[in-house]
């Protein structure tokens, strides 16, 4: 024992560590860097924009017992999924079944996944013939078959309509591709060449990570590294427990609704009870509606991920994200409810629409306990818009997954940011110049929506408006999965702050004079969730993303902030008067 450190600060329990804290910090950086390098390799080699622009993937490192010891943060939606998928796959297949050079693939939403487009690959790392651990990554494939192009079937009622489901199988055995399996997969996806590129990017990055892990074992020695990993998990656990201890004990609840499930037009109710007991949290989702027919159900991986996401937002975000950080958080997600969908229920929208709402619920539930750390709700929809068809220039099938940013919720100390991707992911938008180069649509407008931020002493962020026109002579098939389009379902405010503005997806057929909902124009059951609508040249689509909720009494807004809002046009003079009680001259 070179030195015994007693962790200080934040009231954490003083547990001495056998390895000095400096070395531990260095080893931790090494583990994280393995995962970051894996991710950067994927960004550079992947084919789908959802990977290489959207960064919708996660990279993780596990010890040989299935504990997560390193994680690179690319996509928060997968913070739980990546934890569970690897652990459960190892348990199901048996650790002893892995040989050097094997890669296991799976995308089963009932085995820890967040939704079916997400594919995980797992590779063992052997050092001098002995198993050290596993490297893995989870990534969103843009097209995996099913009833709707882009595999976002917003009116699916069973998993079979959502795409090809793959249980844990070895797609690579001792570094040799199982081409029989590859061919089976290729035959079931609409854009198999992209699948080939993306899965190769995922698998290739595992090899890069494996090399780096082996270098670390060479440098530090196996026993030392395992001991360091264990101490790091204890360290994260201690820090997380210290953070939770700082939250006043109590039972905190919150209820939120989604406007419909895509199959019926009835709202869905979610309920959470957050029990703070000393240095532990029990987050109980009992009271949520039974699972619904449409695909807004959350898998266990989504619900757990949203819960962790929320807790990480209200605790110190520097805590190393390994298995230890998750230990003090217990989650109860009743099977068969909308927060834990069971076979064969659909779940593709749970990851994008339900996750942010669940996370905002946990955060809002804690508002009485942590007023300085929470936020009003964000827009909370990815505004998923998927389209595809035969590209007029190449004659080949293409599919695109399009999304939008929304307003952030306001906080006690600041306004929400405008136009930011929801907190389950960290995607960038696609530049207009790239979008028009790749797809046969023309963007006519991409702008902020004034007055869409929830009013308050602190204002919610603004949503955006986009208008796209299908090029002449082109036919496309479109699918959409949005939420918050109905009045009263906007992002909630806190402490008297107002709701954020609504979302919208509408269509103006060629020759028509105004935008109408898809229900009006095409008779879809839900106005915000539908599949397989065919649009033709000259048709225009309007997508508006919701604003964020406000915080505090709008009449108490700092006049300087309001004057700036009006000058910049974020708030109209009319709204300044109506909601903020201020007559502003412009």
């Amino acid at each position: 024992m070179s030195s015994a450190a007693t962790p200080g600060g934040a009231g954490g329990p003083g547990v001495p560590t056998a390895i000095d804290p400096v070395t531990l910090g260095i080893v931790n950086n090494g583990f994280v860097n393995v995962c970051r390098e894996m991710g950067i390799t994927m960004i550079r080699t992947a084919f789908s924009p959802i990977f290489n622009e959207g960064l919708d993937f996660s990279c993780v490192l596990f010890d040989r017992h299935g504990n997560m010891i390193g994680q690179a943060e690319f996509c928060p939606a997968q913070i739980a999924a990546s934890l569970f998928i690897v652990r459960w796959t190892l348990e199901e297949l048996g650790i002893e079944s892995f040989e050097p050079g094997d890669v296991v693939l799976h995308n089963d939403p009932y085995r820890g996944g967040a939704h079916i487009p997400e594919h995980s690959v797992i590779r063992p790392v052997f050092h001098e013939g002995e198993l050290f651990g596993f490297v893995a990554n989870v990534g969103h494939l843009a097209e995996i078959g099913g009833k709707a192009v882009g595999s976002f079937a917003a009116d699916a009622t069973e998993v079979f309509q959502e795409g090809l489901r793959i249980p844990p199988v070895k797609i690579v055995k001792r570094d040799v591709n199982d081409m029989e399996l590859w061919r089976l997969i290729m035959a079931n996806h609409r854009t198999p060449r992209n699948t080939w590129g993306d899965l190769n990017a995922q698998i290739g990055s595992l090899r890069v990570a494996e090399r780096r892990v082996i270098e670390m074992v060479d440098r530090y020695g196996r026993d030392f590294l395992e001991q360091a990993a264990n101490e790091l998990m204890d360290y994260s656990e201690r820090w997380m427990r210290a953070e939770i201890s700082a939250i006043p004990d109590g039972v905190y609840e919150f209820t939120e609704r989604m406007e419909d499930d895509g199959v019926s037009d009835q709202p869905v109710t979610f309920h959470v009870t957050v029990n703070v007991r000393g240095d532990e949290l029990i987050v109980d989702w009992t009271g949520t509606d039974p699972q619904v027919r449409g695909p807004i159900n959350a898998t266990y991986g989504v619900t757990a991920g949203a819960t962790y996401n929320a807790v990480f937002h209200v605790t110190d975000h520097h805590i190393p994200k390994n298995s230890g950080a998750y230990r003090p958080i217990r989650i109860i997600a009743p099977p068969g409810s909308a927060v834990n969908v069971q076979y064969p229920g659909p779940s593709v929208g749970g990851n994008t629409e339900t996750h942010p709402k669940l996370a905002d619920m946990v955060i809002a539930a804690l508002a009485p306990a942590l007023p300085g750390r929470v936020s009003a709700a964000e827009g909370g929809t990815c505004c998923n818009f998927l389209f595809g068809g035969i590209h007029p220039k190449t004659g080949e099938y293409y599919a695109n997954y399009h999304l939008e940013g929304c307003g952030w919720g306001a906080k006690s100390y600041d306004d929400g940011n405008d136009a930011i991707i929801i907190k389950n992911g960290n995607c960038r938008n696609t530049p207009v110049e790239i979008f028009e180069t790749r797809y046969p649509l023309r963007v006519k407008e991409y702008s902020l929506i004034p007055d869409s931020g929830g009013a308050g002493a602190m204002r919610g962020g603004l949503g955006t408006r986009r208008i796209m026109r299908v090029q002449d002579g082109v036919e496309i098939t479109v699918n959409a999965l949005l939420d918050r389009t109905k009045p009263g379902f906007g992002a909630f405010g806190l402490e008297g702050g107002g709701q954020g503005g609504s979302a919208a997806i509408k269509v103006k057929r060629a020759g028509d004079t105004e935008f109408r909902t898809f229900t009006e124009a095409f008779g879809t059951v839900s106005a915000s969730k539908f599949t397989n609508v065919v649009l033709r040249g000259g048709d225009e689509v309007l997508i508006e993303s919701p604003g964020g909720g406000g915080y505090g009494d709008a009449y108490a807004r700092d006049p300087e902030r309001l004057a700036r809002d009006v000058f910049e046009g974020f708030v109209s003079a009319g709204q300044a008067q109506a909601l903020y009680g201020a007559a502003v001259t412009t």
């Binding site: 459960w88 199901e92 009932y110 266990y300 989650i331 997600a333 099977p335």
Partner: protein, 72 residues
């Protein structure tokens, strides 16, 4: 599903290993937390009915948190 008692069953319950047939493509969920139980179930008799958990920790959580909540 068929099952067999595991070797390290505790005093209050027993481990049951899942051996699903090839056509059984679904894994089951823990009666307490709802997590996937990929391989081994912790089976306990509580108040006359059989409960299947992902592990002993969920048995404790069930006794310390869920049962009191149900009683309310």
């Amino acid at each position: 599903m068929s099952g067999a008692a595991g070797p390290d069953g505790g005093a209050g319950g027993r481990w049951v290993e899942l051996k699903p047939a090839v056509w059984e493509t679904v894994v089951r969920a823990c009666d307490c937390c709802g997590q996937v139980v990929p391989k081994r179930l912790w089976v306990v008799d509580i108040a006359g009915s059989e409960r299947r958990f992902c592990g002993t920790e969920c048995e404790s959580l069930y006794r310390s948190y869920v049962l009191p909540r149900l009683a309310r």
